[in-house]
């Protein structure tokens, strides 16, 4: 019995008892509503939760964005039309944030446009490299996998404080530099190095998750494909580009979409690590939304909601294009 079937068996027996009671009920249900409606039955619980706890809040947010004051209850908020959108989009010159009425919104947008591609590329590149190394014929794979996954378990605040604490002028990294006779470097004071460390720390914290998914994808590639390639004495790079990458494509797409979406949502780690600084060099969209909507009294829910909806529209378009492109290439 292989390990996998043992697990399937174990999980099977765990589920067996309640399942036996449920099955006749479900069969009856199927007779009642017909097989055509069964997919809706399967969908219903999840869809209901999504509508109630995700989509409804978004609609409340849309309402917020057209109303003013710092009141919480929608009924207490006066209608102000598109005022919030107007202030956000009010710019003398869209390429120069300092001419905009809400300059920090545009700086955040600009930073996000640089941060997201950089971070996603680094994330997927490193996660893929790690997954390939772990997929090799190596000793202690479990240990290594654990090590790479470990940071995923830490809460964002802890990740940020740990690294802030490592990187600050009196941190352990500078402590090591000093003991090597080098000058300490103020890592988070310069815009470029702060940006680098923002990317580094977020990749550090999340790459384990993507590594695991990619590793699963790699292990799903049948060994015989590689054996065949070995016969043809193809070199490593050729095997990678001609066999691994094409076969990994569906998994890579999953990883890519997840990574982009979560990269756009990057917030907690950087909020604690740099606070968006120095100046506004690492200020990203969600932090901007958080600050105007929550961190500063009086809370401006309306403006925060408007900004988040603009962000949401951009993301939605992006994802739809992605899905369309991938669907097209799958069919073709």
């Amino acid at each position: 019995m292989s390990a996998s079937s043992r697990i399937a068996h174990a999980t099977g027996s765990v589920f067996a008892l309640p399942a036996r009671a449920v099955e006749p009920l479900m069969a009856g249900l199927q007779r009642l509503i017909g097989i055509k409606r069964m997919p809706w039955f399967f969908l219903l619980p999840n869809l209901a939760a999504v509508i109630l706890f995700s989509l409804l809040p978004v609609f409340v947010n849309i309402y917020y964005s057209f109303t003013g004051s710092d009141r919480l209850y929608p009924s207490e908020r006066p209608f102000i039309g598109t005022y919030n959108y107007e202030t956000l989009l009010d710019c003398g010159n869209y390429l120069d944030p300092s001419t905009c009425s809400r300059d920090l919104f545009w700086r955040a947008l600009g930073n996000s446009l640089v941060f997201v591609p950089t971070q996603v590329a680094a994330m997927i590149g490193i996660a893929l490299l790690t997954a390939i190394c772990l997929n090799g014929d190596i000793r202690g794979r479990g240990f290594f996998r654990g090590v790479f996954f470990f940071p995923v378990m830490l809460s964002p605040v802890v990740v940020a404080l740990t690294w802030q604490w490592i990187l600050q002028r009196t941190g352990v990294l500078n402590g090591m530099l000093t003991s090597l006779g080098l000058d300490p470097v103020n890592w988070l004071v310069h815009a470029n190095s702060a940006f680098f460390w923002s990317v580094f720390v977020t990749v550090w914290a999340h790459m384990g998750f993507y590594t695991i998914i990619l590793l699963a994808g790699l292990q799903a590639i049948p060994r015989d494909v590689y054996e065949a390639a070995k016969m043809d004495s193809a070199n490593h790079w050729r095997v990678f580009t001609r066999i691994t990458l094409p076969l990994l494509r569906p998994v890579l797409l999953v990883v890519f979409i997840l990574a982009v979406i979560r990269s756009v949502q990057t917030f907690d780690e950087l909020y604690v690590l740099t606070g968006g600084g120095p100046g506004s060099a690492t200020l990203l969209m969600v932090q901007y939304i958080y600050e105007i909507g929550f961190a500063i009294q009086p809370r401006n829910f309306g403006l925060a909601a408007a900004a988040s909806l603009l962000l949401g529209v951009v993301l939605l378009v992006f994802t739809l294009v992605q899905l369309r492109v991938s669907k097209g290439s799958n069919n073709g």
Binding site: I7, A8, Q30, F42, A49, V50, F150, T162, N174
Partner: protein, 362 residues
């Protein structure tokens, strides 16, 4: 069993050095692989280890620069005639020899010291530059005991609340997400695309942004200060549906057709065929759900305001006030709350490993 592993480990060092499980020569790619992985261990693990080590430092030791690897504290001695213990110093005398003295008080550049072995000899004035504190490794367990005492005897209640939320949310998430994923991957029906977009579009909503409306809805449902008020809003994870759907797409439809031939109901097909085959993806979703629910902070913070429903994360969050962050407590809390996760991971790792390994459809 022991014999077996002994036999296996014979030449294990050699095999480890050579980097191959079987025989064979070391290739450049092996060296690169191990080099990369060891670098990974350093970069990924060292900061975590540093957090754990630092959680045993006293506040004073935490503020030190350059920081020491191990937690140290100055040794204290009891000297006759003094109520409080006094810190011990290694003092270099003018003749160059080193003696141990206890410091009574420091004034500017000089310190008043006393010989703990011979307190009758009276006070000695020593220039500060010639004195170095005697330090020993000291694990400041008090960081932990303070933290635990701040949550009082209720600690098990908080652990229970956290566990309840984590387990209930994860079980519901797995069932609901896999049902939805099944519908979205194995059926063609009108509205499928719309439902998929509706669920996936919520991926794009940062939780921070909808916190306030979410609270309003929870409040309308009367679930404030109720553990279900934290569980229900989090169960419909779009990531879970997405991962499971992508995975289920790879399960051949022939299996389902064959089962239908045998007059299996749709539920039976889902429960008996699709679910077991999806166990690798389920394992990933489970891990992810456990991690997020256990570490959840913002939603519980807003929804749960009575101590009897606090989670561990909330109860231990007393490391901060308006102006001060108490790092020693924060670090202890981190270590303490990450510990169960680490164990869970070590335990589940085998399952994930083999689960993921079985992904190859054979």
């Amino acid at each position: 069993m022991a014999d077996l592993s002994l036999a296996r480990s014979e030449g294990g060092v050699r095999a480890l050095l050579l980097g191959r499980r079987g025989r064979g020569k070391v290739t450049l790619s092996d060296i690169l692989t191990y080099g990369y992985l060891l670098l990974g261990v350093l970069v990924m693990f060292a900061p975590v280890a540093w957090v754990v080590l630092s959680s045993f430092k006293t506040p004073a030791a935490l503020q030190e620069f350059p920081p020491t690897l191990l937690p140290y504290s100055t040794e204290q001695v009891v000297v006759e005639g003094f109520d409080q213990t006094l810190p011990l110093f290694n003092v270099t005398t003018e003749s160059g020899e080193v003696v141990q003295l206890a410091q009574i008080r420091r004034v500017g550049l000089n310190a008043q010291m006393i010989d703990p072995a011979n307190p009758q000899a009276g006070r000695i004035t020593v220039p500060v530059a010639n004195a170095a504190p005697v330090r020993k490794v000291h694990f400041a367990v008090e960081n932990y005991s303070q933290l635990l005492s701040s949550s009082g005897s209720d600690i098990w209640r908080f652990v229970f609340n956290s566990l309840f939320i984590t387990v209930a949310a994860t079980v519901i998430t797995l069932i609901m997400n896999s049902m939805a994923a099944f519908a979205l991957s194995k059926y063609r029906f009108r509205g499928e695309g719309l439902a998929l977009v509706a669920i996936l579009s919520t991926l794009m909503i940062p939780a921070t942004v909808v916190l306030v409306p979410t609270y309003l809805i929870v409040a309308q449902l009367g679930l404030v200060n109720n553990l279900w008020g934290v569980i229900l809003p989090t169960v419909a994870t779009p990531t879970g549906v997405f991962l499971l759907r992508q995975y289920m797409l790879t399960i051949p439809d022939e299996l389902i057709e064959a089962a239908r031939m045998d007059h299996a109901s749709e539920w039976r097909i889902f429960w008996r065929i699709i679910l077991p085959l999806s166990s690798p993806a389920l394992a990933v979703v489970a891990i992810f759900s456990i991690l997020s629910r256990w570490n959840d902070f913002l939603l519980p913070l807003v929804v749960l305001n009575r101590r009897e429903v606090f989670t561990l994360q909330l109860a231990l969050a007393s490391y901060q006030d308006e102006n001060v962050v108490r790092y020693e407590q924060l670090l202890a809390m981190t270590t303490l709350t990450a510990l169960p996760l680490a164990f869970a991971f070590i335990f589940l790792q085998r399952y994930i490993t083999s689960g993921i390994a079985s992904t190859g459809i054979k």
